[in-house]
Each structure stands twice: as structure tokens, then as C-alpha cells.
Amino acid sequence: MNARGPEGIVNFRNPPITEVVVGVAFKDAAGLSTAHIGECWRAKWESRFPRVEEHPPYSPPVERFDVPPHGPTFALELSVRPTTRLWFVTDDGHELIQVQRDWFACNWRKVSTGSEYDRWPARRAAFETFYTDLERFVEDRGLGKVTPVQCEVTYVNHIVAGDGWQNLGELPAILRLAGAIGGESVSAPEQMQLGASFVISDETDTPRGRLHVTAQPAALRDGGAPLYVMNLTARGGPEGEGLRGALAFLDRGRAQIVRTFTAITTESMHEVWGRDA
């Protein structure tokens, strides 16, 4: 979407990115309770993230390759402890840290139409900083250790009607994956939704995770303008130990997101988003 770096991927000057979420599911921090998470916030994050909210836990899916796609894909876990996901939000609502006993994530969102996405290196650095804060807190307090088991990077795009398309039946004007209907025998769709998954493989063609793409029709609460919410989530296991392994997958996943976004969206929308030559 807006990659500037050695990967040689396309850059957009005005991408439709609304939010970026970088997260990791972890294990081995058995002693980490909600109270401890609050203590960590107080010690390390409160001044920058003063607002606190409580949410139900997040259960990140695990990308499996050891059973066929039509085989069983569930997992069961019994818990006798209720889990709470705590949100720590900046005053301006730009940034968020989410923590629960087995999951951690950093969000950045575009608050106003004039604000600009601050690019992947900044998102990566924020994740690294706050993850390290949590990791050290858990170890210093003897609560176990933070061992990443699944990594996730998500780009949320709000593609609002106006330039390039007008109504929710025009998803093919945005996405090449959604083909237009020929002939006059049926009416045009009123709205559409789309989902697709892509395997993320490494340089040896070994599957490392999946990239999931969804496009959902929606409307802005403020003003009711129609839009498509296009989410791209790259999810997979860490490619090595600890933070370094998590970052290795996150870098791979983010690059795959940018390439896939460019490949599946239409050239006319690329012009709208200011594609660099």
C-alpha cells in the first residue's frame, strides 16, 4: 500500500489505510493476571496511554498446515480463569495497546482525513518497544516468560464511495478479484462481500502462514457515506525465537499484504490512491 523500502513494492501517496494492527499470541506467561497487566500499564505506559477500557478476550485463529483445508480446524482449551482484554489508548485516540493473558497488540489508526499513515517502520518500532516492555515486566516479576506462538499484522482500509466508484454494487471497480457481470439478464448487485485466503510461503516454498482478505459493505456512522471495509490480515507462526522471530514473520506478512493489495485492486483505484510509477 505504501511501502518504501528494499522490497521494491509499489508506493501509494494517499492509501486508504485506516488502521494497522500488529499483534502476537503468546504462551508461558502463566502468572500474568489482569491485575498484573494493569500494573504494567501503570509502570510503563500510563503517561502516553492514559485511557483504559475493558473488552472480551480475543481468540486469534491458528493457521494450520498439518491437516487438509477440509479437515478439522478447531482447538479446545479449558479455562477456569476469566480473561479480560485491556485497552490502553492515547488521549488523541491515534494509538492503542491491547493486552490479555495470552495476546498483545499495538494499533494505529488514522483519526482525521488529513492525517497520514506513519508507515511500517514506525508501526514496527512501536510494537517492538511495547512488546519489550511487557516481556521485561513478565520476566522481572517472575510471572513466566512471553513466548510468541502466532503473529498477526492487519491493514484495515476504508474505501469510501466517491472517486472511482459510487454504490456498493460496484466492488469490481475496486477489486479485480470481484468480476463484473456481463449481459442484461440479471440486475446489477445491490452490494457484495468477498473473502479470500492466500498461503504465505518462505523462500523454500514452506508455508509460513496465511493472508486473509475480506471486503465488507458498510457505512460511516458519521454521515452515512457508503464504503467498503477491506481488511488484510497476515497470520502465521514466528520465524525463530522470541521477539526477533515474531518480527521476522511480521515483516514477511506486511510485505505480502502490500504486494497482494496492489495485485488485487484495480488500476483505476491505484490512480485515485496516487500510485507512484
Partner: protein, 175 residues
Amino acid sequence: MPKLLPASGHSNLQSERERFATGHAWTIGRDETLSGRQIIVFGPMLDTGATVAWTPESWLQGALQDLQALAALRPGWDSYGASAIDADTATLASEVLRVLADGNAPRPALVPTSDGGIQIEWFGAGLEFQLELEPRTEHITLFFRDLDTGAFWEGPLGEEPEPFPKLLWRVTSHG
């Protein structure tokens, strides 16, 4: 009673209900984003939780009816003084069945135990696989046996040597 969590895989419990999902594409949900509050998403798939295989055609409805019949068993149902099925255990069994159905598991058999518990079982081509839900305990026991070789494994769910879906796939793919 312990609570069943969809630790992974495709379940629609808790915040999974709000996940953006189309078919088997699973991106993060509105619940996990700040920008989710800015929008109203259209489409019944998101608001009903009907993003998974809870269709009338799936085996879940039939299995839940079987479970209901087991829950109605009276004390002494086996003529040897068996307990009635524990209500909490039946509730937990229903949650397990939902997660299994969501995750493309084949339909299991349900067997009552004399102490008021429930076994969820699969058999196929010399392989046996059981989840035993015992009353008043905080774990599910998993049992796996190869009837040809006699090899078996038994222990708390979560400590199995290989991922549960992979074990189950091995059983059912032989059938």
C-alpha cells in the same frame, strides 16, 4: 465449572462473533480495532454469527438432540445405580460440540458414563478417540488408541503429544 474457550480455529464464541469473516477468510474484527466504531457493517453474516457450519445440514442439531436425550436420563439408567448426567457437564458438552462442528470435525458418538459424565467418541479403521467430560472436574480427558498396535495415549486435553485436530484427522481419514 470450567469455561470452554475457542483457543484457536474458527469458532464464533465471544468476540469471534464480531470477526470480519467471509467463508474461510478470517481477518481481525471490529472488536480489535479503534476504527470499527466509525462504521456500520452490512450483511447478515456479521451480525448473526452464522459464519460457520451451524447450518441445519450440519450434524450439530442432531448431536444436540442426542445430548438432550442423555441429559434426561434418570438416576439408575443403567440398572446398576448410575448417576443422572451432571447439568454442568451437559452444558460443557454442548459447547464442545459447537466448537467441533465449527471446526469441520466429523460427527462423534455421545456415550453417558455411570458417574454422570459424557464421552464424545470417534471410531474408525482400528482407531479409537475419546474426549471424556467428567463431572466436577476442571479438565477434559483425551484418550487415543490404535487397536492394531495397542499403542495409546491418555491425559488432560491440552497436553496431547500432537495437535488435537491432527490426531482426529488421523482417526477419521482412516475411516
